[in-house]
């Protein structure tokens, strides 16, 4: 993760392709990409992610699919990773769609490389147009290769949080068959979290995990500094006088031990029912 980056982890399942696509589209729009470049980026990230869904894990397992994006001097650098047994594009795939995917990525991206190993495969792509980006350092995060649930995002606090979160919440709420009203409530909650003071998030990274299913979204926000949950709840006075407590179906605060810290980290849990 880096100063202006985005990372996203979902289960490698077909229904999550739209979530990844929307998150990256929101990020690219916030980076000032024009609509055609956003469209190309959506194709590139969908094709690379689909390779993970189809090839990375055995049929009955959905391991993690990780997508990260960061500014690059020529645009955005996107990495799509899995923890599977290796990228195996068959020499003669039965499905003609799979024959078109890699050429699409190669044609629409500015640079494109595949690195494979025993611990998974990474496809790294650079997508134009150029934006002014700062060089940023890498810092990998440990991911359990056995488990992948929900959508886990880590976004540098600031400009990118709102567009990415709004698109991801919309995609997940649509998938959970939310009504238009509840969809709009969900986006309001996302907007309010996006606007919250960065100082309440540890390391200036907005961490959000969303579990969806059974007609509900469970949003876990953090790690937060102590008291951050209270301040988010108090701060979420929404237009029309609505508060977070009125919009959400349930709210809870969780304290989890955090590595290398004296005090436990705080997480705010918001449940939104259909």
């Amino acid at each position: 993760m880096n100063a202006r980056g985005l990372s996203l982890t979902v289960a490698a399942r077909p229904e999550n392709l739209a979530v990844i696509r929307q998150a990256l589209a929101g990020y690219a729009e916030a980076m000032g990409f024009d609509p055609d470049a956003v469209a190309d980026l959506k194709t590139i990230v969908t094709e690379a992610s689909m390779n993970v869904v189809v090839h990375a894990y055995p049929d009955d397992a959905a391991g993690p699919l990780e997508v990260s994006a960061r500014p690059h001097e020529e645009g955005i650098e996107i990495a799509v990773r899995d923890h599977g047994s290796g990228f195996k594009p068959p020499a003669e795939p039965e499905d003609p769609g799979l024959r078109l995917g890699l050429p699409l990525i190669a044609t629409l991206s500015d640079q494109f490389e595949i690195r494979g190993g025993s611990e998974g495969t990474e496809v790294r792509m650079i997508v134009r147009p150029s934006v002014n980006g700062d060089a940023a350092e890498e810092a990998g995060e440990a991911i359990d290769p056995e488990e992948a649930q929900g959508t886990v995002m880590s976004i540098a606090a600031g400009t990118f949080v709102r567009p990415v979160l709004a698109r991801v919440i919309s995609a997940l709420a649509a998938r959970a068959d939310f009504s238009i009203d509840r969809l709009s409530d969900s986006i309001l909650i996302g907007d309010a979290v996006s606007a919250h003071d960065v100082s309440d998030f540890q390391d200036a990274m907005v961490g959000i995990e969303i579990l969806d299913g059974d007609g509900r979204l469970e949003v876990r926000i953090g790690p937060l500094v102590e008291g951050g949950s209270d301040r988010i709840m108090r701060g979420l006075e929404l237009p029309g006088g609505a508060s977070l407590r009125q919009l959400a179906s349930d709210i809870a605060v969780e304290h989890s031990p955090s590595e290398g810290a004296d005090e436990p980290s705080e997480f705010l849990l918001i449940t939104i029912d259909r």
């Binding site: 969908t46 769609g97 698109r167 649509a174």
Partner: protein, 122 residues
């Protein structure tokens, strides 16, 4: 962004038109495959109208190509149309070369004409 939906309608005289709304990827290929397979099994010529799709990926193109081969094998007409479609859909067809090799018609009327003419293009 809406969930991708694939629909089909029977237009006179006996042409199945498959239409799309929203975004389409590996998650909606089963929907598309079912519609295409049903039409081919009923021996009805098929027009795939991509004009309503906001997004398609290579898995959708793969289903269309596969159905086209199956239609040809059974002597059925098959055509594709994109009228004022989403830029990303036109772009994917252009980059893969399918816009000319399929070909992709610009009007539904032209696509129906091709489908009606049969696999040799009439």
């Amino acid at each position: 962004m809406g969930q991708g939906v694939v629909s089909s309608e029977r237009v006179e005289p006996g042409i199945e038109v498959i239409t799309f709304s929203g975004e389409h990827d590996l998650n909606t290929t089963p929907q598309l495959r079912d519609k295409l397979t049903a039409a081919i099994q009923e021996r009805v010529p098929v027009v795939v109208d991509l004009s309503g799709a906001d997004f398609i990926d290579s898995s959708i193109l793969g289903e269309v190509l596969d159905a086209r081969h199956r239609a040809e094998d059974t002597g059925l007409g098959f055509a594709v149309v994109l009228t004022n479609g989403a830029p990303s859909v036109g772009r994917v067809l252009e980059v893969t070369g399918l816009d000319s090799s399929l070909p992709v018609h610009k009007t539904r009327a032209a696509a129906i004409k091709e489908a009606r003419a049969g696999p040799s293009g009439g």
